[in-house]
Symmetry: C2
Subunit: 201 residues, 2 copies
């Protein structure tokens, strides 16, 4: 019997995934949650064999949770289940010892399959996504460039970003300018879009 923990913030989707996995004879769902910051405590209490994590979770994102989980419960294997297939996410996932990476538009059977594979110590990664990740590469942006792009995302002006990050407005513009040219954008909107889609933010 494979003991499974499942973390997904949208209640109905989580319920539906549980219904899907309930059809499998060799699996048991030992925990269901909707917040990233509850993953480690719940896993320590329920000792699952496989943790199925969404990336976009409130409290703590799934990848950070996976990192802590690996440190505190290394025998629990992690499988990431995400709707957004951003190459950068895969890179980060591998760095935090995630064993499987499945996108939500893969066929439904792949989930149970994936859980079994991961429980057996194998890795499960969509080949298309690997190709995309290799093509895209890891982020060309420095830490501060990421900070500035993130702050720009909500429509803040250069001045407001500077205040938020305690920087000089000119410095902010330099970082933005660098970020724009690094990702190959035409302006900040473009740069934000490109970096988001790549999974660099």
């Amino acid at each position: 019997m494979i003991k499974v923990l499942i973390a997904e913030d949208m209640h109905m989707i989580r319920g539906a995934l549980v219904a899907l996995l309930s059809l499998e004879e060799d699996m048991e769902i030992v925990a269901e949650l909707d917040r990233g910051d509850q993953i480690v405590p719940t896993a320590l209490a329920t000792r699952p064999d496989v943790a199925v994590l969404d990336i976009d979770l409130p409290g703590l994102d799934g990848l950070s949770a996976a990192e802590h989980l690996h440190e505190q419960l290394p025998e629990c294997r992690t499988l990431v289940l995400t709707g957004l297939s951003r190459p950068g996410y895969l890179l980060r996932a591998l760095q935090v010892h995630v064993r499987g990476f499945i996108v939500k538009d893969a066929p439904a059977e792949k989930l149970a399959d994936g859980i079994r594979q991961v429980a057996n110590g194998k890795r499960v990664i969509d080949p298309d996504l690997v190709a995309a990740a290799l093509e895209t590469g890891s982020t060309p942006l420095t830490g501060r460039e990421v900070d500035v792009l993130r702050a720009a995302e909500s429509g803040n002006s250069t001045e407001q970003i500077a205040a938020e990050l305690s920087l000089s407005p000119t410095t902010v513009r330099n970082y933005l300018s660098n970020a724009i040219s690094k990702v190959g954008g035409r302006n900040r909107i473009d740069a934000i879009r490109i970096a988001r889609n790549a999974g660099w933010l």
Copy 2:
């Protein structure tokens, strides 16, 4: 027996929702699809009692599909199932005679419940979303303002937007300026974000 059509683009989620509904004794899924433009033809062939539609579908969005469905098969009731709870979507949904509107983070049981209610001729709408929709109101933007904001979204400069829409650059800036002030934004990025979140784009 309630005959159900289900349209959802992410394969695994669709499979999971089907698994969820398969547990219900009084329902039968007569069609499963992943594209909006197949909804009407498939519905005409399978004659479902209730069509469960995601909004964000390739080919044709769920709301436009709902509109056509109501014209060509009025006895089929439509229930929208969406992950993004944008007030503007609800307004548009009611205009195209959608009978139910459920968000994906509602509890899983609500889906089967909702389908039964809608099949019985009742309406099903989340009260919180109604409140949000009344608060937000319908779009203050004119058709062209929406066009311009949409074009700006991909990071195009004023000049490029003008070329795309065959307008003068000055006109584009006027529309953008109007849109920014109407939605209460500080600049185009802000305006795009606000309008997106409200469901006006």
